[in-house]
């Protein structure tokens, strides 16, 4: 919160802030207190397999006959910043728009070379930009701590400086998390400041595709600083 870029981000949120809304009635689940919440943090997505693919020669009947080499393809763990803004739709239901910029390593382990070449790892850094719309349902909690379920879907673009090609794709995610306010009576735009933590399962469709699986899955964790107003 004391970092320069973060302060700037919060200042930006100030400029678009709407008047504070009334507190939700005490005792109702989740009880979001404000109309909008900004969250900024980081996400870490575990590695995801893209499946295997073998460079194959065909026999006289069109059947695979000679494997030139085999590749095992995967995305390494993905980490990067994530920014989101949530709008209250009902006291326990919020709609969220999020964007993330992540960086990962695309690797292909090459084995079983027909000419006996030793196993070799081909690796390329990849940047992923994503935009996602989601719904949060606060199903349990008190003023300070509230638990939520989240589901979302969106668009992604993957590419990098060494990959002249960038590919578009789709993503869908679902998870569970909590938000904890550690400051609820501040002044100005930062009346509520807290922490949000979430575990997600992320499905990626298309984007950079290597191997047999066009649909990828990876577990993810997100930790964010939340400002409500």
């Amino acid at each position: 919160m004391t970092a320069g870029p973060l302060a700037l981000l919060f200042a930006t949120s100030l400029s678009v802030a709407a008047p504070a809304a009334a507190q939700a009635p005490a005792g109702t689940p989740a009880r979001p207190a404000r109309d909008r919440e900004w969250s900024v943090g980081g996400s870490l997505t575990g590695r995801s397999s893209m499946g295997d693919a073998t460079a194959t020669l065909l026999g006289s009947g069109g059947e695979p006959s000679v494997g030139l080499f085999r590749t095992e393809n995967r995305f390494g763990a993905v980490a990067g910043p994530e920014l989101a803004i949530a709008f209250r739709f009902r006291p326990d239901l919020w709609i969220e728009v999020a964007g993330a910029l992540t960086r990962a390593s695309l690797t292909s382990r090459v084995t079983n070379d027909a000419d006996g070449a030793p196993a070799f790892v081909v690796s390329t850094p990849v940047i992923r930009v994503s935009a996602e719309a989601g719904v949060l349902w606060y199903f349990r909690g008190q003023d300070a701590t509230a638990w939520f379920l989240r589901g979302g879907a969106g668009f992604l673009r993957e590419g990098s400086g060494t990959l002249a090609l960038a590919e578009n794709g789709l993503l869908a995610s679902g998870g569970v998390g909590f938000r904890h306010w550690w400051r609820t009576n501040g002044t100005g735009a930062f009346k509520r400041v807290g922490l949000r933590a979430e575990g997600r399962g992320v499905f990626l469709m298309s984007g950079i595709n290597l191997g047999e699986r066009a649909l990828r899955f990876g577990p993810a964790g997100v930790l964010s600083l939340v400002v409500g107003y």
Binding site: L57, P64, S108, D113, S123, N209, G211
Partner: protein, 338 residues
């Protein structure tokens, strides 16, 4: 290399072999036949289309002239099938003329050449050695072998259409591809697997697999006859193969797209080890360099070409992206000596 002897040249170009050996003239560039003009290599191609061809009236056991013409139609149609390829042909009638006669007509037919006991067929060209325009191209199929036009192939006989697809590939200006593996058998070499109709050795009797062109063949034909739209949509990989910092001549470079399974390949064609694999579908590829099999050298290069086969298989360290309409950064594949 092709010699610059006159404005019109006839060259015995390429053969389809059932075993190793046979006459092959110079391959000028990746998958394409070329000619050196003023120190510059240019590909040969048909600029005047539709390509008009005649079929000999000579029947052979199991195949009439009419059936040969039908198979030829299928072979030309196969090369015109890929989206973005502008190739057209026209049957101009039957003729009693023989193939390989410089008569201004492209004549295709059977001929008995029992002395070529390992050659199923061959193509010749007459082309303008200044512009590279193909003026005439003849194809013969060796009637010393047994042939079939059965729709599903026929055991014990070679499939006419499969061999014609290969030979028409030459007629259109394509050279040989090295995307295949062979093994030595008592009577010569046998294909154990391949991914290009333009591989110089045919499948055995009864197979009809070569009626269908593969990704490598499609890249080659699109490289020569691709429409403007195809050139905007397709890309290339450019780079070099080096051994201890020096270029490797004659390395076989294979690009594999794990997402599609496509294999497309080319060669390094100068002492700097430079290569270009063009007309590729955009995507991400794994690129491998290997020495040519010394038993196959003559299928791809002239005898006096300084081909280096004394290195180990190597891979490029990163994935290689093929963007639409161009190429990514030039890559370098560093290989080690054997």
């Amino acid at each position: 290399m092709l010699m610059l002897m006159s404005m019109r040249m006839r060259v015995l170009a390429l053969t389809v072999l059932i075993v190793a050996g046979g006459a092959v003239s110079g391959v000028g560039a990746y998958l394409k036949l070329g000619v050196v003009v003023g120190g510059r290599l240019i590909g040969i191609e048909w600029t005047n289309q539709p390509i008009q061809y005649r079929v000999t009236t000579r029947d052979v056991p199991g195949v009439t002239a009419g059936q040969l013409q039908t198979a030829l139609d299928g072979a030309f149609a196969e090369w015109a099938r890929p989206a973005g390829v502008a190739v057209s042909s026209q049957f101009a009638g039957f003729t009693s003329a023989d193939p390989f006669v410089d008569d201004g007509w492209s004549v295709i037919g059977f001929d008995a050449r029992p002395e070529l006991d390992r050659t199923l067929g061959a193509a010749t060209f007459v082309f303008d050695d200044v512009t590279g325009e193909i003026l005439e191209s003849d194809i013969f199929l060796n009637s010393a072998f047994e042939w079939s036009v059965a729709s599903n192939g026929e055991p014990g006989r070679f499939d006419v259409e499969s061999i014609l697809v290969h030979e028409v590939g030459h007629l259109l200006g394509l050279g040989h591809s090295a995307l295949g593996e062979t093994e030595l058998i008592a009577s010569g070499r046998r294909v154990t697997g391949k991914r290009a109709v333009m591989f110089p050795i045919a499948y055995g009797r009864g197979s009809i697999e070569d009626r269908t062109i593969e990704a490598d063949d499609i890249a080659g034909i699109t490289d020569i006859y691709g429409t403007a739209a195809a050139r905007r949509a397709l890309g290339a990989i450019v780079g070099r193969v080096t051994l201890n910092g020096a270029g490797v001549f004659g390395a076989h470079v294979t690009a594999f797209n794990p997402a599609t399974g496509d294999l497309v390949a080319g060669f390094t064609l100068n002492s700097q080890g430079d290569f270009v694999i063009a007309a590729m579908k955009p995507g991400i590829y794994i690129v491998r360099a290997e020495p040519l099999d010394d038993a196959d050298l003559e299928s791809f290069f002239e005898d006096d070409t300084p081909i280096n086969i004394n290195f180990q298989v190597g891979y490029h360290a990163t994935h290689v992206a093929v963007p639409p309409g161009g190429a990514g950064q030039a890559i370098e594949i560093k290989v080690r000596a054997k």
